[in-house]
């Protein structure tokens, strides 16, 4: 486990969370800091003064945690060809899973491997409907690099943004009650 996702400068409890039907408390990105890389984000880091979260806020927080786990897992699989792409099914379904699997497969077919990891800044988590949330994050690839089978860096596409604002939909599965990231899309090339 490379622990590729760096949760930048924010604890989950400090995120902009909102319950069903509410508006986000904040949609302002937290400024990235030089926070050392961590493993998959955890919600266990206790702030000095733990606020009391409503049920809706807790659910949104769980959805956000799922997104971060999903991004961390992607980085792990992208960087370690020996691991099974099937692991994506633990955290994602639908198009998010499919696109992730296709991208990793695409890279593996060419001998590409990811080094380092994305720096992820959670921006917001909003309830979208029953059992569904929309989580927005900012990803920063400045700490990540794709290398080819010779270990040489694969140049980034011309004009590729270093930061992308990505929005993911998290859904509570009816068949097992677990949360899954089901869609993942880029909504802005800066954040």
């Amino acid at each position: 486990m490379r622990g590729l996702v760096t949760l930048a400068g924010v604890a989950l409890t400090g995120l902009a969370l909102t319950g069903c039907g509410g508006t986000p408390v904040s949609d302002t990105p937290t400024s990235p800091t030089a926070t050392p890389a961590t493993s998959a984000p955890s919600s266990s880091a206790p702030p000095s003064a733990t606020p009391t979260l409503s049920k809706a806020q807790k659910q949104a927080k769980a959805a956000q945690a799922k997104v971060l786990a999903y991004l961390a897992l992607f980085d792990d699989l992208y960087g370690d060809p020996s691991r099974s792409i099937n692991e994506l099914y633990d955290v994602s379904r639908g198009k998010a899973q499919e696109d992730s699997a296709n991208t990793i497969r695409w890279a593996r077919n060419r001998g590409y491997v990811g080094k380092g990891g994305l720096r992820v800044t959670p921006l917001s988590a909003k309830a979208k409907g029953p059992g569904k949330w929309v989580v927005t994050v900012c990803t920063d690839r400045r700490g990540a690099q794709t290398v080819d089978k010779n270990g040489d860096p694969v140049p980034a596409a011309s004009g590729a943004s270093e930061k992308l604002k990505r929005q993911m939909e998290v859904e509570k599965a009816k068949d097992n009650g677990r949360l899954y990231v089901i869609t993942d899309k880029v909504v802005a090339t800066s954040c």
Binding site: N86, T103, L118, V154, A157, E169, Y180, D184, V187
Partner: protein
Amino acid sequence: MLMVVRLGLAVVLGAIGVPGLLAGPAQADPVSCTPQAASQGLCTITVTDPGDGSGGGSEGDGTGTSGSESGTGGGGGCRLDGVPVPCGNGTGGVWSNSRQCYLTAVSDYPADGPVWGGHTTGGVYACFLNGSPDMVWLPDGAAGGPPPPPNPADLAQEAVSSMTLRAVRIGIVPEDTPGKVGLIGLPTWMWVDDPGAHTLGPITRSASAGGFSVSATAKVKKVVWKMGDGTNVVCRGAGTVYRDSFGATESPDCGHTYTRDGRYTVTATTYWQINWEGMGQSGTIPMNLSRSTTITMGEAQVLVQ
């Protein structure tokens, strides 16, 4: 290359930097740019945000569709990064352009396995090219699913049909024209009057479908002449065309001698051996084609050839 990603109300235009990345399951087009790839800098997505700040809205379909698919991404058939690859891997795997791997149905995948993703229909497939396969779920008959491979025997039949094989035109002395009568006791000569690839072979044709191809070669093994008097004459070749200079000699390779007068229906049947192979299989197709004519044999006082 350009890509358009529908994103709720937002319009997202993308300049693809990496061919071969994939779109949604309904997209046969293998050229797209996923958010995951874009985040790694492997391709470029330019977003035009209407600025409503919501970003959420309708999820749309989030599916990338390619605009101009040029260069290595173009072309039909089975392709990996635009380079043609076999559509079958010889072990039942079928190439998926959208997945960039060979798909093989996994019939014994557990019903409660995670790959089902809550689906109760469709099927689970192993997706592999190099290394260990991963598993994917595909809906029944979905556009994103692997097309069923053609039946190679059907393709072989198609190849055979394209050969336009036909029965031989009969060459025979005595001739089968009114007034011509053969003499009892003198040899009858038979030959194929129109020898060629379509009547005797060999002839090879191929048929393709869905990126698969089968090749078939047809050749006549023998020509069996039913002489109408209960005799079957088997000739291995086309026979020899009779010339007047041959007189009353016997055909060197395909002849018969009638012993009774009468009208005889002579039937020439070509027996074909058709071998086909493709898609990791092979087989043979039996075929025979016949044509008949009628000759008259008479006593010595009758005019002969």
